[in-house]
Symmetry: C2
Subunit: 252 residues, 2 copies
Amino acid sequence: MKRERIEEIADLLDKRGKLTLEQLDDFFPDVSQMTLRRDLFQLEQQGRIIRVRGGAMSVKEVQKVSGEPYAKKQAIHTDEKIKIAQKAASLIEENSSLFVDGGTTAMYLAKEMPDLNIHVFTNGLAVAIELAQKKNLNVTVIGGQVLKDNLSTASPVARAYFDNTNFELAVMSASAFTPENGFSCGSQIEADLLKMVRSKAKAMYMMLDSSKIGKIMPYTFAHLEDIDVLITDENFPAELKELFTQQNIVVM
Amino acid sequence: MKRERIEEIADLLDKRGKLTLEQLDDFFPDVSQMTLRRDLFQLEQQGRIIRVRGGAMSVKEVQKVSGEPYAKKQAIHTDEKIKIAQKAASLIEENSSLFVDGGTTAMYLAKEMPDLNIHVFTNGLAVAIELAQKKNLNVTVIGGQVLKDNLSTASPVARAYFDNTNFELAVMSASAFTPENGFSCGSQIEADLLKMVRSKAKAMYMMLDSSKIGKIMPYTFAHLEDIDVLITDENFPAELKELFTQQNIVVM
DNA sequence: GAAGATATGTTAAAATTTTACATAGAAGTC
DNA sequence: GACTTCTATGTAAAATTTTAACATATCTTC
């Protein structure tokens, strides 16, 4: 009982990177904070986590930090993104082939992804490395020039990859959305890549946390009607939800 | 004055791994604890340290601990590899275009690489992420299926990348070398990729730490006479060195 | 040299962690 | 089955650390 809880805590920390004691308390409402503290203490002694004021952080997480912009970006709206990623992960089926983009939400999806016999294509380096930890899963990186701010790749040559590959599903996340301008991002070649993916995939799931609604980025890569499922959080406005459901898009 | 102190603190932490506030106070008796706290706070925001109860610890220190297979591999023969990587880095010239493979030695090369206006092609995800930290440098990842044990990619489609790209120089590292079997590695598609690179590059530098001499891996991707410069450590056998120099290969 | 910005010091308030002790349950022993 | 012992857990006060707020000093820049 104790062992399991400690493993769960370690898992949670590896996925989230960092947790406060309060957050941990929410996950384990039936034990006291003191018990959780003692668990953290044990994990610390095993060298698996580092205790910091207010909670603890995963050693793996620390290894990634270097003060880069990417690491900073990850900290924003974490909770919503994890929830969205969990919803998306629950939709992934065994023996399927799918594309995942390279954004931070996709990064969380990678962490939550079940270790099934599936093939994942991605243009995100961090996503790829995360997925490479899974035993049964197969990863292919779409190569190209590396965009430094989000560690994703994009290249016209990517087309070559898609000529001979097939995937049923594309799971994407956008940096911005309005009903008029659709889903947009900040890089042209990335938008081109995503459009290419869109034309290849049989189904499109879009992950969109509500903080991105109303924003517009320079390059639109998909419109409202292009997607099949919208995965979002509780703060998603009801009137927008209606707009999506009118187009037979599942909002979850 | 502040800047210096902060750098000193960072240095101390990198050397000691961890320091309490009291210890820091001993090092800097002429400023108050509060000032030191504020310094630590700044360093934390830069991602260079992690504040823990009572003091702080160096990120680098934390990075040493880990249980992942890739990280483990990194720990072996670290010192030699770093020295080799430094030698290789010193050969890189501004305004050039080069290929770097995805091995662990290449990873160190990425860390040591000068931040010049150069373009680097690589099939290593970790290498690419490391290089993406540099401001002036341009990185392109050769995509493909991700090999889980060394986080590099390989794919027949990679040819598409090389059709329209040029690089003067390829810097590679081998998993094994004997004079008879040449430079070899453990994956066929990786060997294919490297052979392709070899035919593209005008010059070839090989990084080879002496622990790999006498070993044979299944797939040979280059022979002794294919390379122009061999970068190795002090333990490199003299008789082999002669063999290389006879072929007009620079050994350093 | 004055106004504003930056750096530092001092102290009280807030928050977190530790300690110590109490209780409950599991495991073994006779 | 009752007893002891050990481990896990809970509770609350005590100790420590961190933060916040304000005061002072130092440095810039015009």
